[in-house]
């Protein structure tokens, strides 16, 4: 049938389909023993897509005011068909997204993928990571329950300790001097408009840069990767990617259905805080550090200022690490940065475990490493297998 070819040509003339297809056909992914690290960015993106979808669904019932927020979420969970499921998926997917973003960050850091020319990819990635935290923090307040209320009170209070701009930041975040319905309006605006807009922009740049530069090969696997044929993205890597997403969806659905997120009690600004109140797990290491700093001051500066400023500086160092790690450019390796990274990880996991007074966080990290190993085995790039030999040089 000539008409079919005519339709194809019509679309190709307008949308350059042939070019897109050629691009997809030529895209490859390096094959080596650490190839599993290439899957976690995509998995984070998958959870982000889940967040966008369920977030839009929640917006259709949610009412952002101190009077109505709690009851609208209650209505959603008790009366709307599958409302409990949608909210539960949104909460669990948020946590899993933070988790896979952590894995992505850690694997990219240790594989030194931030080295030239990928500084831009690293910086946009770091900013996206910080924004993910901001998403978590702002979304936490929206159900307007007791836990959310105190988390926001304490969280915004911390910003006040920062020298010079602290006081202004607190008022800016809270939309006033206290956490009130005005704070809720502001956090809602951040959560559903400001942060998504910034994310869309950064994510666009991040993904475009990944396409532009291709996947980075860790220096330790450079020799192996040059020996082996890379895997074609379409269909071999893409199918593996989707297999990973399917597993992610299965874990998400199981968690959301078996452990539905609870609602707690409506926020009461005059009720005392719970005993043993804790932040979300991804803020735990900072929270625990702050708790362990004694009161007092030196040269008129409160002790608690130091860890907060140090965490801020650590974030900044993380952001500009491609420009600090000069040894990597000159000698092709930088063991110092690996050691610092391991120390930071040990500190974060250790502080989290201490905060929970439990070895569970360590167990979870080990469990995740084991799962990553299993996943790496399932999606391994076999030498000489279908995926790797079809590449035309």
């Amino acid at each position: 049938m000539a008409s079919r070819e005519a339709i194809r040509r019509w679309f190709d003339n307008r949308f350059a389909l042939d070019k897109v297809q050629a691009l997809a056909e030529h895209k490859t992914v390096p094959s080596h023993r650490f190839s599993v690290i290439y899957y976690f960015g995509g998995m984070t993106l998958f959870f982000f897509a889940v967040q966008v979808t369920t977030g839009i669904l929640l917006m259709l019932y949610y009412r952002p005011s101190a009077e109505n927020a709690f009851s609208s979420v209650e209505f959603l969970m008790t009366t709307v068909p599958f409302g409990w499921l949608v909210r539960s998926i949104h909460s669990w997917s948020a946590n899993l997204m933070v988790f896979t973003a952590w894995i992505h960050l850690v694997t990219v850091y240790f594989s030194k993928a931030y080295r030239p020319p990928r500084e831009g990819t690293w910086i946009t990635g770091c900013l996206l990571f910080f924004i993910t935290m901001a998403f978590g923090f702002s979304g936490y307040l929206l159900p307007w329950n007791q836990l959310a209320f105190f988390a926001t009170k304490v969280g915004t209070e911390i910003a006040g300790v920062v020298p010079v701009i602290g006081e202004w930041t607190v008022r800016f975040l809270r939309n006033g001097d206290r956490v009130t319905g005005a704070t809720l309006s502001r956090f809602y605006g951040f959560h559903v408009a400001v942060l998504p807009a910034i994310t869309t922009m950064l994510l666009g740049i991040h993904l475009a840069l990944v396409q532009l530069h291709g996947m980075s090969v860790p220096p330790v696997a450079a020799e192996e990767s040059s020996r082996r044929k890379p895997m074609k993205f379409v269909p071999h890597f893409a199918l593996r990617d989707m297999f990973g997403w399917l597993l992610a969806l299965a874990v998400l659905a199981a968690l959301a259905a078996l452990f539905p997120w609870d609602l707690g009690q409506k926020a009461d600004p005059f009720a005392p805080a719970y005993a043993d109140i804790k932040p979300e797990w991804y803020f735990m290491f900072m929270f625990q550090t702050l708790k362990k700093v004694p009161g007092g001051h030196i040269f008129g500066i409160e002790y608690e200022v130091f860890p907060i400023v140090l965490f801020g500086l650590a974030g900044l160092v993380l952001l500009i690490v491609p420009f600090l790690d000069r040894g990597l450019v000159r000698k092709g390796k930088s063991p110092g940065f690996t050691v610092v990274g391991i120390a930071a990880l040990v500190f974060i996991v250790g502080m989290t475990a201490w905060g929970y007074r439990s070895w569970a966080p360590v167990g979870i990290v080990l469990g995740v490493l084991a799962l990553m190993g299993l996943f790496a085995f399932l999606v391994r790039h076999k030498e000489g297998a279908a995926g790797t030999e079809e590449v035309e040089e």
């Binding site: 669904l57 259709l60 009366t79 709307v80 068909p81 599958f82 409302g83 499921l85 949608v86 399917l246």
Partner: protein, 154 residues
């Protein structure tokens, strides 16, 4: 051998397609159900008080719109102790009607629908008359003005 491989490939592709469709429908079904607004129970209302017969609204404008549950009802003062009540929702496109004392007409400002004091259409686009409500004047004490009480027509 080649034919064998191609049928196997076709079978696997078919399996993948079916699985994708099933997975997709399992995601879309809850979303479709979620999007359908659940029934919200409305409190059943049988009668409401529209205020005393000398309410300034009755004396000055000659009418008052009161809420009968979720339904707006227009109460019109026709004489010193004569009141009538109708659904205030215009039967044309659901605007809220008012009473034009000078013309003795119930008037809808949206598209100039006109009803007489029996609720019947006398002009404009409305396709049906306004639903009438029953009005009682209740006297709680001889010293106080009577109260206008609106109830559903039996």
């Amino acid at each position: 051998m080649a034919a064998n491989a191609s049928t196997r490939r076709r079978f696997v592709n078919w399996l993948l397609g079916i699985s994708s469709v099933l997975l997709g429908s399992r995601i879309l079904y809850p979303i479709a159900r979620f999007l359908t607004p659940p029934e919200r129970a409305e409190a059943a209302t049988n009668q409401v008080e529209a205020g005393p017969i000398n309410d300034p609204a009755f004396l000055e404008k000659g009418f008052k719109v009161v809420s009968f549950g979720a339904e707006p009802v227009i109460v019109i003062r026709v004489g010193a102790e004569e009141f009538r009540a109708f659904s205030a929702t215009c039967t044309h496109l659901s605007c809220i009607v008012e009473y034009k004392k000078s013309k003795e007409l119930i008037w809808c400002n949206c598209h100039n629908g006109q009803y007489n004091l029996k609720g019947q259409v006398v002009g404009g686009p409305p396709p049906a008359p306004l639903t009438p409500y029953t009005v009682h004047l209740v006297s709680e004490s001889p010293a106080l003005p009577k109260t206008v009480v609106v109830s559903k027509k039996a």
